[in-house]
Structures are given as structure tokens and as C-alpha cells.
Amino acid sequence: MNRRTLLKSCVAMVSLFALVPLQVLAAVWNRKAFESDKVEGALQGLGVAGDQASAEIEIVAPQMAENGAIIQIEVISRIPNTEAIAILAEKNPTPLIANFMFSNGAEPYLITRIKMAETADLKVIVKAGDTYHSASRHIEVALGGCG
């Protein structure tokens, strides 16, 4: 085997290995986005390129939270073809809290409970096709909940 064929077979093998996990990749946890300690890094990990502020995203959350360990939030997107809703707390040690992906008749709507380390903006990013839209809500946190 000369160098060229060896190289070719190596490339073929590597691409074979690279192809196999692609099928399951959609269900793999986005480590890069979730472990980033910066909002920018989390957005980069999610593939968000330039989000535009939108009034079509509604965030229902308390203005002031006594306990940062449990803050109930409701998010509604009225943007057509919403595929995903990501939630970030700007001052949490790892800002990305969750990314919800909707399909087959699921409404772009959710209620969940989150932790916030301190008073900060809660940021919501909506993915609709190739476009990204955002909305923010300021939440005062009396007692941080990210211990």
C-alpha cells in the first residue's frame, strides 16, 4: 500500500465514522452551548447568528423573585413557523437554561421553572426557519438559586 491509497482509506474510514453518529446527533446534548459561561458562547453553540428583537414573543414571569431556585416562566411565540425556543439567564454561571424544539403540531408555548443566580435579564431566542428572534425580561432576584 503506498502513501496515497493509505491516506485515501484513512479518509474513507474517518468519514465513515463521522457519518454514523449523524443520525443520532439530533438527540445529543449540546455540550458546547450548555457549558459556555457566556451568553455569546451559548448562542454560538446554538448556531444563532444575529437575533432580532421581536414583539411577537411573550414572556410571562414575575418582576421580582423571592427565591432564585424556583422561578416559573411562561413563553409564547407568535412568530410563524417557530421551531425552537431557547431560554437564557444572562448572569447565570452557565447562561443557557433550556432549548425546546417543537414538531408535529406542538404549539410554540411552554411553562417551566428555572433557577437564576442573581438579578438579570431573562433572554428568549426563537428560531423560525433560518431566522432568530429575541425578547428579554428583567427579573429581580432576592435570593440567588444557583448553588
Binding site: A27, Q72, P93, N99, G105, E107, I111, M116
Partner: protein, 105 residues
């Protein structure tokens, strides 16, 4: 393990509201316990929901979801008696699932 999760799905005016409660510590990996030890991270990373076996919701979570996670989501096109299944996987590979039936309001 069914007591580790609760589900209720109610159909009203064409929209099915699904409420799910999961029992999980959701440890961030930054908490110090009473003995002064750092409690290792232990949290749900993936949540998937299906309607009659068809995926409707996939959520990826970090450590910022509260302990004993609560989730409400809404579906169009579900009928009374349809099956909704919700499943989670945590960072240690543990998993749990529950199935609910769409009920009338």
C-alpha cells in the same frame, strides 16, 4: 418508578395541554453540602415527548432548570384517548418515562 413522574393531558377547544412533573435533584455541580463537599452535577439533559409515538417535543436542558422539573406544553391535533409519552435522560445516563392519555377538560 412511575412515582418519579406525573403527567396530565387535557383537551379543550382543540388544544391539548400537557403538564408534566419529574422528580429529579437537578444538581448544578456547584452546590456545597453540609459536610463541605461539592455535590457533583446531576441533571436531566434531554426530554422528549411523543403523541401516539410521533415526536412532538424535544428539549435539551442545562443545570438552570429547577429541582423536580415542571413542564407544560400544548399540542394541536390530538384526540381524546390519544397516548402522550414523555421520557427523560440525565447526565449519568439514567432514564425515566411516563405515558398519559388525553382526557376531556
Amino acid at each position: 418508578m412511575a412515582d418519579m413522574m406525573k403527567i396530565r393531558a387535557r383537551l379543550k377547544d382543540g388544544v391539548t395541554e400537557v403538564k408534566v412533573l419529574m422528580i429529579h435533584p437537578m444538581e448544578t455541580g456547584r452546590r456545597i453540602d453540609d459536610a463541605g463537599e461539592t455535590v457533583p452535577a446531576h441533571f436531566i439533559q434531554l426530554v422528549t415527548a411523543t403523541l401516539n409515538g410521533k415526536p412532538v417535543l424535544e428539549a435539551q436542558w442545562g443545570t438552570g432548570i429547577s429541582k423536580n422539573p415542571y413542564l407544560t406544553f400544548r399540542l394541536r391535533g390530538a384526540n381524546l384517548g390519544d397516548k402522550i409519552a414523555v421520557n427523560w435522560v440525565d447526565n449519568k445516563g439514567a432514564t425515566n418515562a411516563i405515558e398519559g392519555i388525553v382526557e376531556g377538560a
